[in-house]
């Protein structure tokens, strides 16, 4: 037990990063759930990582913006491939996404085995740690989040599936390197799952669930000295279950 970590200057940037991730991931997560393709984020993140590894094995030296560019390009290419698959074989899209995920992961292992160059960046890209985030790193994430949200909301009535896949690739690639794959998956799916029965109010309730999960997760990890990302994932689940069961009870009373 340790109360030193309960310090807003330690937990603040992480909390803000979490809230920013939630702004885009809750609406996108609801769409993911509606389409029934819940492992899309893992596949997209893995493809982004593969893009980085391959660019290294071509001997392209890296500044950080080149890595970002390679990761984004790979993620967007992967997302358009998956969009094409959805059009072609909609009934097995989930299975295809799963296969693409393992193929990208294994391609990464093979490329790295002959040339470990890029392995570090690959790891960093997928295993972001929310606690290391600084306020400066949040500026690009905020810009990307606003852009994604603006495009997603402005196209409310005529959302093209390709728009969804593209925005999803951008949102996941920019958030996964700050908070890691587990938190991205949890932020995407858990709030959306908890509010699946709600229509208009779903976004707001989902955001409250997510925010509660991040606040309690960060505080708990500070008090118990547990790794922050993993603790937040559990708190997101607990907050999702708690809020969903509270709301469903109230609904029954109202009936």
């Amino acid at each position: 037990m340790n109360l030193d970590g309960l310090d807003i200057s330690i937990l603040g940037p992480a909390l803000l990063a979490g809230l920013l991730v939630l702004t885009t991931h809750i609406p996108l997560g609801r769409e993911v759930l509606r389409r029934g393709i819940i492992f899309l984020d893992l596949a997209v993140a893995q493809i982004a990582g593969l893009g980085v590894i391959i660019s290294y094995s071509f001997g392209w030296e890296s500044g950080s913006w080149q890595i970002q560019f390679m990761a984004m390009t790979a993620a967007l290419l992967g997302a358009s491939l998956l969009y094409w698959c959805e059009k072609r074989w909609p009934e097995v899209q989930e299975a295809i996404i799963g296969c693409v995920f393992v193929l990208a992961a294994c391609a990464g292992i093979v490329v790295l085995s002959s040339n470990p160059h890029g392995g570090e960046e690959f790891k960093e890209l997928l295993a972001g740690q929310i606690l290391w985030v600084s306020y400066e790193q949040l500026i690009p994430l905020a810009v990307v989040s606003i852009g994604v949200l603006a495009l997603w909301c402005s196209a409310y009535n005529k959302r093209h599936p390709l728009l969804f896949y593209g925005l999803f690739a951008v949102a996941v690639t920019s958030s996964v390197q700050l908070v890691g794959v587990y938190l991205v998956f949890a932020s995407l799916i858990i709030p959306a799952l908890a509010v699946r029965k709600f229509k208009a109010k779903g976004l707001a309730i989902g955001f409250i669930i997510g925010a509660l999960g991040y606040v309690f997760g960060l505080c708990l990890s500070a008090i118990l000295d547990w790794p922050s990302g993993a603790t937040i994932v559990w708190c997101l689940a607990i907050s999702g279950i708690a809020v969903a069961s509270f709301l469903s009870k109230r609904e029954k009373v109202l009936d």
Partner: protein
């Protein structure tokens, strides 16, 4: 229930400990926490960021790490890029001016001694190699002695009012350490010239000190996990060459060395590697005692 118990113990400790201004030491690895303890004793409040069961190349971020780093007066780490994956991030997030690179509070042990295997040309295709040479210096007792002397100076510079205290403890440590080195070297005579296979290159300095030879590593390249073709090659090599043992740390996977041991009948040994790596390795003296005992036992001496 154990939680409640330890909670009570911690609360009692907080009350019992006088709130004197002890110097806060943030050690990245247990060996440096232990060395600081030898020199600083009760004048220091020491925190070790990792344990012997963790791979220090990468660790999970916890809030307490930032909190401890923020209050540190001195950061004692290995350096030479060993903690490159997390220490710079942690220093940046903690923004404690006293312990930033170049300040008195920033002490990178390996960077104060001569390192082996400094690459002539830096080519990352050779694996995860460190530009500053092999950083795992603490298993050479002579290098450790140099580091102890420098750490004493640094502590004296940060905390001049206790400089004489640190100096006296250093001298005591030096006497005991030198006697221990003589004892260890006599004990380790039978190990001289023996060949070993290691998991990673983290035994470089121990083997160099003992006059032993590392003929191969289980990792095909530093930082890459052992793979089938490489292990098969090693098995062949073992048939042609006499190798005394296969060694690994407490945090490395046991399967590759057990596999090779099973195929070749060469004993696989898990050594403590650092303080806390086994029950007997509870301080630096215990670490070397236990390491030598296990190696002598494995070599059949």
């Amino acid at each position: 229930m154990p939680y409640i118990k330890s909670l009570i113990v911690i609360c009692l400790l907080c009350v019992a400990l006088p709130s004197q201004a002890a110097l806060n030491i943030f050690a990245c690895e247990p060996e440096w926490a232990s060395l600081s303890q030898e020199i600083g004793g009760e004048k220091l409040s020491i925190y070790s960021a990792t344990t012997a069961k963790q791979d220090v190349h990468s660790i999970q971020a916890r809030p307490s790490l930032i909190a401890k780093m923020r209050r540190a007066d001195l950061v004692v780490c290995t350096g030479a890029e060993l903690e490159a994956g997390w220490l710079p991030l942690l220093l940046q997030r903690a923004s404690n001016r006293k312990v930033q690179p170049g300040q008195l509070g920033y002490f990178m042990a390996a960077e104060h001694v001569e390192r082996l295997d400094v690459p002539q040309v830096l080519d990352r295709s050779m694996g995860d190699i460190h530009a500053g040479g092999n950083p795992h210096v603490h298993l050479d007792p002579y290098r450790l002695l140099i580091i102890a002397q420098l750490l004493n100076k640094r502590l004296g510079a940060i905390d001049p009012s206790n400089a004489a205290f640190y100096q006296a403890r250093l001298e005591d440590f030096q006497t005991r350490w030198q006697a221990a080195i003589n004892r260890w070297q006599a004990q380790a005579q039978p190990l001289k010239g023996l060949s070993v296979v290691t998991h990673h290159k983290d035994w470089r300095y121990l083997l160099d000190w003992l006059g032993m030879k590392a003929v191969a590593t289980l990792e095909p390249k530093p930082g890459l996990p052992p793979n089938a073709s490489h292990l098969a090659k090693l098995k062949k090599q073992m048939a042609e060459q006499s190798v005394a043992m296969v060694i690994r740390t407490a945090y490395q996977e046991a399967r590759p060395s057990k596999w090779l041991s099973g195929k070749t009948a060469i004993p696989a040994v898990q050594l403590p590697y650092t303080v806390g790596g086994s029950a007997k390795a509870s301080d630096l003296f215990g670490l070397f005692d236990e390491t030598l005992a296990l190696m002598l036992e494995a070599s059949g001496q």
